[in-house]
Amino acid sequence: MDCQQSKRLYDLMDAYREGVISTEEMGELDCLVTTDIQSCETFVWYVQLSTSLQFSIIGNEQEYNAQLEMSVDEALEKLMTDDSSDRMIGWLLGEEAEEKEKLIAFKQRNHIEKISQKRLEEYLKGQRQDKCDVEKPVSKNNLALGNRRKEFNTLKAIAACLVVGICLWFYLQSDEPMQVAKIVDSHNMLWQDPLPNIELMFVKNKEYVLRQGVAQIVFNNGAEILLEGPAKIRLESANGAYLSYGKLVANVPPKTMQFTVKTLSAQFIDMGTEFAIEAKEDGTSECHVFKGLVRLIAKKSEIVCAGETKRVLKNGQTIIVKDYNASKFIRSKYQINDQGVWPDYESTVLEHEPVAFWNFQNVDNLFQNIIPWSEYQANGASAQLQKNQLFENNHKVFLIDGVAGHFSLSDLETSPEGLTLVFHLWLDEILPQNIMWQHAPITSHLKYSRLLYLDDKEKMRLASTMGDDEYPDLYSLEVCDILDEQKILKAQYWHHIAIVFSKNWLAIQLFIDGALYCEKTTTRKVPFESDFSDMTFGVAGNEDDLRTMLGAINNVILFDTALSGDEIGELYQATH
């Protein structure tokens, strides 16, 4: 265990001991304890330290050690009369008469009837509390505080129950069915019975059969599932569903209330998670966790960690599945393309030695760099990321996994060998002015920028703009000349896009799906200033006129050189 792991373990153990551990942290601790013997030993030792402290500080240990030196009669008598043994009396009393009888029999055998009976009576009459207060003034405030809190909590609980009860009563009086989720997007969706309302809302506890296609369903609690047909599902509440058969991928935001998917053989409870469930008609079900953790409850309760797959048989028995093909699940509507899989470079891209490569599929919203940015930062460049950035009208710019990113390239702009930017692009719709990329900051005074956008004829264009009020060539726009008029962009399809800036920075080229689509040789080199060197994905324009892309971007690769047409063709072939 290295230093960081060790520190993390201690943090988790502290949170656990103090009762402030979050659900996600609990899952993390569970995984550590289960999979790493050293972590487990450390955990046990840490807990034993707390117990030792509890016994040492409260003083129980010394007393019990002293009791060991007593005769059994003395020890038992002490046990029954000493305040420190109240808890043990409580244990012995229990809730069941049988336990009480055992206690009395035990005491009779040990000749302590008189004292213990008195003690029992005191206990049952509730006099114990008063006695403790008198004898232990130090703990009086604690007890009083605890009692006041208990009373307050009880009142709160009663009030909450009343409010919920009244609301529920009023709700049940209405004729409206309880709608717990709705469809926000779909692909080739066909339901056995049409959904009864135009808003595509799901009614609680009604069974729905999706014959084919994919439905993206958002529950009222914020959890989202992609249900893939054929599937039969019953939405039990805004927090869960029963999947009779079919496949789904659930994405549960961290602050969402507990979300549960049930099948014939098991329950799967999210713990801040993205996970896939496949339920089969024979009663078996499988769970694969992409991110976070899932608690699986079948014959026994267990945790499924990220990257793991567990199969639950009809009888509730659980089997770990190795080498599971999790790519068969659809995790995003952006995955529904002709290939049916994500475009993925694997290692091919590394052969071309990129400066940076960001794949948004597996990295949990983090940009990953092949060459650390620190190397570039040393030369004055910086990377800035803004996750889930909200723009006007609350429109969120999505790259895969909801990341809107921009970064600075002040170093690369001066690259003597030019620059190549490659990415996969998915457009929800082919709309004019759909801007995919901007090489400029989002500011009110646009000076220089380069844009990738769809023009009024829905053709993709790469353009350079420059100037504002301070510059004579205000808003001059140099647009690339289309070479391949036959090339038609498709909506809901992953296109491979490459933008190349030539070695002398005078020519720009745009490649679509591995082929040169348009190019432009500019009349002069467009200058860059370090303050205006941000590269922004998914949004363009300025604060007064901001345009957002409707689609997604993935696999962004940067090269500090101008790649040739053949090299771009190779990259395209590597993913198609």
Binding site: M26, T34, V44, L49, Q67, F106
Partner: protein, 177 residues
């Protein structure tokens, strides 16, 4: 349960008192809620007492009692399966195995603890005393002591880690010596 002999009762008392801390330690390790842990310890005590006649003298009482505790914990866990902040069956098994194997180490550490407690500052000892005498949560304790939860939490973490290090060094020193 048939009539238990006085010797057997005496044996029970001695064994239980010797192992009480370990049994309670195991339960509190896997049941984070203190009052649940105490309730469960109550049940386990009753079961151990009820079944003590079947316990074979001279065998490992600690392992026997911990096995009973483990089954009770698993039953509790199944009953409260929806509670998310609980360990899984596998984790409970792993923790149980460590408890079974570290009896002597636990006793050594427990003995070393007293010397390490003496090395703490008076202020740190007071905080520990307050924490372990206090029945409420750390938030309650912060309210009561007029400290911030964060400060209290960090202080307690620091003290526990100090003790942990002190005990480790102390035992390592003993082995070297």
């Amino acid at each position: 349960m048939s009539q238990i002999t006085e010797d057997k009762a005496k044996e029970f008392m001695q064994l239980y008192l010797q192992n009480q801390r370990r049994i309670y330690g195991f339960i509190s390790a896997v049941i984070p809620n203190k009052s649940d842990a105490e309730d469960l310890a109550q049940e386990v005590f009753s079961i151990i007492w009820a079944k003590f006649e079947t316990f074979e003298s001279g065998t490992n009482f600690s392992a026997w009692a911990l096995a009973i505790a483990r089954f009770r914990v698993l039953a509790f866990q199944q009953k409260n399966a929806k509670e998310q902040k609980m360990f899984s069956d596998q984790a409970i098994k792993s923790i149980h195995n460590v408890f079974l194997s570290n009896e002597q180490e636990d006793r050594d550490r427990h003995e070393a603890l007293h010397a390490c407690l003496a090395k703490l500052t008076a202020a740190d000892r007071e905080i520990l005393k307050m924490r372990y005498n206090f029945s409420g949560t750390i938030r309650d304790m912060a309210d009561y002591s007029k400290r911030s939860v964060h400060t209290l939490y960090k202080t307690l973490s620091r003290i526990h880690r100090l003790l942990h290090q002190c005990i480790t060094k102390s035992l390592a020193g003993d082995k070297m010596g």
